[in-house]
Point group: C2
Chain length 229, copies 2
Amino acid sequence: MSVTFRDVKADLLRKITLGELAPGSNVPNEIDLAADYGCARATVNRAMRELVDDGFIERRRKAGTRVRMVPVRSARFSIPLVREEIESQGVEYGYSLVARTVTKPPDWLAVQLSLAANESVLHLICMHYADGEPYQHEDRWISLLVNPNAESTDFTVIGPNEWLVKVIPFSNAEISFHAVQADSELARHLGCKVGDALFQTERSTWWKGDAITFVRLTHRPMHRITTQY
Amino acid sequence: MSVTFRDVKADLLRKITLGELAPGSNVPNEIDLAADYGCARATVNRAMRELVDDGFIERRRKAGTRVRMVPVRSARFSIPLVREEIESQGVEYGYSLVARTVTKPPDWLAVQLSLAANESVLHLICMHYADGEPYQHEDRWISLLVNPNAESTDFTVIGPNEWLVKVIPFSNAEISFHAVQADSELARHLGCKVGDALFQTERSTWWKGDAITFVRLTHRPMHRITTQY
DNA sequence: CAGTGGTCTAGACCACCAT
DNA sequence: TGGTGGTCTAGACCACTGC
């Protein structure tokens, strides 16, 4: 069996963790490593690219490859559709549209999405349920400039998220997570007490530079998101 | 100039977003695509591997490649050291050790890390400051079985996170985010009101299957984490 | 300028697994 | 069992950038 890129990656990682390749030190170049491991340069290259991706090393042409001083930690979270998140738990999904208005964007939204103050946006408030219990509150704003069809769509049967995924399958987004206290309206919708700590997700989405939508998702109390690395 | 894997990736992505390659449909195999694009099979392969990584397609040997029904969204968050997070904002970092005890793990911790009930753990409470203002509360548990040196380490000068990064540069971890209400102790340390909604990060860390540490980081009010994709 | 990584090629063998 | 993706090879050219 020949030497695989996994072998090379594992061995380099071992040398890094054992200190044989110290933080800040230089890693031999690809040609030398290929000779050492008895494999092709492309094999070493793939191993090294994965180590870059995992945050263990840095590479620059001519300067070579160095072990990072502090490994860069990053974790990846999947962003599921609410419906799938709920149904994957073997629970019945429910949805309802709470409010729908066409309006001008408030200042904070215009800033966040770089909208003109006089363009129209569709503002939706929706609720998602798991087995009939409140699961997630959705505060959604959709640009009607980019997406005029939204105005004639019946959001009482399909959630805006699922609709948008069909219409705009690919997009760029900015996501942020934080905590808020439940105000009276959130408390009423989510069936919790005013002041309860709630986990909130905000997502702004663009397509080819144009703002499509902003959404603020408020999860029921105790909600958490988890991942491994 | 020859056809690059970026060209191939961009073109496939274009076909996916325009519906030319519909969700659920089959993508031609690598050999055909290589012929179509006039490039080597390896070039197509790299483009496709990145599309898998980005969540747009699925691949299985023999079955071939299909466009995912719903693109899998995922976002990557970097997990900085508190010190670097604060200093990168151009602000002075401060640290203090609040409490230190050696004890047996409480039940929830033993379950979370798969610890024996009778082994010893080091329990630390620390505070991190930005420009003298409370920034983050750290509730840290370290297994003394795997890491006996922790007991003799002076955590009044170095934070446990920075120490652990040096001692155990590589590890597996599980991270979760959620929201909590400030209890009286958190409120006192973070200088906020009891009941305030706080963003909390929990991380369990293993090295080669052995539990190393569990930490609960509570951020000051209004803290948020953000990323793009 | 010269060393390093970034990438492409053309060919090969193999593992997996749907049929 | 045959088609498909997974990976390795040996060689090549090029882009970047530290010296």
